[in-house]
Amino acid sequence: MTKGGRNLIVLGVVSVLVAMGTTGVSLAIYHGSGDIYLDRSRPGYLPDEEEVQEETPEEEYEFSKSGAVTKEVLDEYVKALETEIKAIDLYNEPFDEGALSDERLGL
């Protein structure tokens, strides 16, 4: 084997090792930061079909940071906040203790 050929193989091996190392570091960060638990595109966590259909991207309301503060402006704010609270309330008792109870797991 020529010297050039050997160098090419060494370069290939080093490249693969560097790629494996950086991928490992990325995965460690992905896992350690907790992003893995929010990633719904990972296998087994993909959104349901009806869930995808539910999501109609509407333009989200944002309260303006500037302008006068009147009763009408505050009414608008209250209405927007109530909408968010109602959306939260759709999740009845989120993370309730019962889901991991002995009874529920049949223990």
Binding site: Y37, K65, Y77, L81, I88, L105
Partner: protein, 178 residues
């Protein structure tokens, strides 16, 4: 001589009692529950291991969905409603300490929710990875620990809802004064 022996015994007893009290306080602070598994539970765990494993996986998936949606609502409330309102109130010299405290508490609790959820999910993931047939004791111990962490996340969500409602009330009071 005899007096010294008695004193020594008293000191040893005193330190033993103090050690026991200290351990109990420490366990209470760290939320460790010394709940032992009964023989029936051990048998049920080994017998229904696959079913338990499946239901934990379903729970993990559902929790992920709940976390993503709730997280989005909390973010909207904080960054698109509460914070802009407070900025606008400051601009108009109408800002109140109660509303600023409410914003700070909401932001702090939201951060806790994010951290606590990660801690809970790490435990749940370890629980799913454990083979309940091979290590039932370890599995049950981790299950109890995961329950405690799930409870903390549930408390965070309750607190965040209460803070959002409290913000509504504070804004309502301000509206009356305008």
């Amino acid at each position: 001589m005899c007096y010294n022996k008695n004193m020594k015994k008293r000191y040893v007893s005193f330190y033993c009692i103090m050690l026991v009290v200290f351990c109990q306080v420490l366990m209470g602070l760290t939320g460790v529950e010394a709940k032992a598994m009964t023989d029936e539970q051990r048998s049920a765990l080994v017998l229904h291991c696959d079913a338990i494993h499946d239901s934990l996986k379903v729970l993990q998936r559902n929790d992920s969905r709940t976390r993503v949606y709730l997280g989005r609502y909390y973010e909207t409330i904080l960054n698109k409603l509460i914070t802009p309102l407070n900025v606008r109130l400051v601009e108009n010299s109408l800002s109140t300490n109660a509303l600023i405290d409410n914003q700070n508490n909401f932001a702090k609790t939201r951060t806790n929710f994010i951290i606590d959820y990660i801690e809970y999910q790490k435990d749940l993931e370890n629980l799913v990875a454990l083979d309940c047939r091979v290590e039932p004791e370890k599995f049950y111990e981790l299950l109890v620990q995961t329950r405690t962490k799930r409870k903390i996340v549930a408390e965070d969500t309750k607190r965040l809802r209460a803070l959002a409602v409290s913000n509504l009330e504070l804004v309502g009071e301000m509206r009356k004064k305008l």
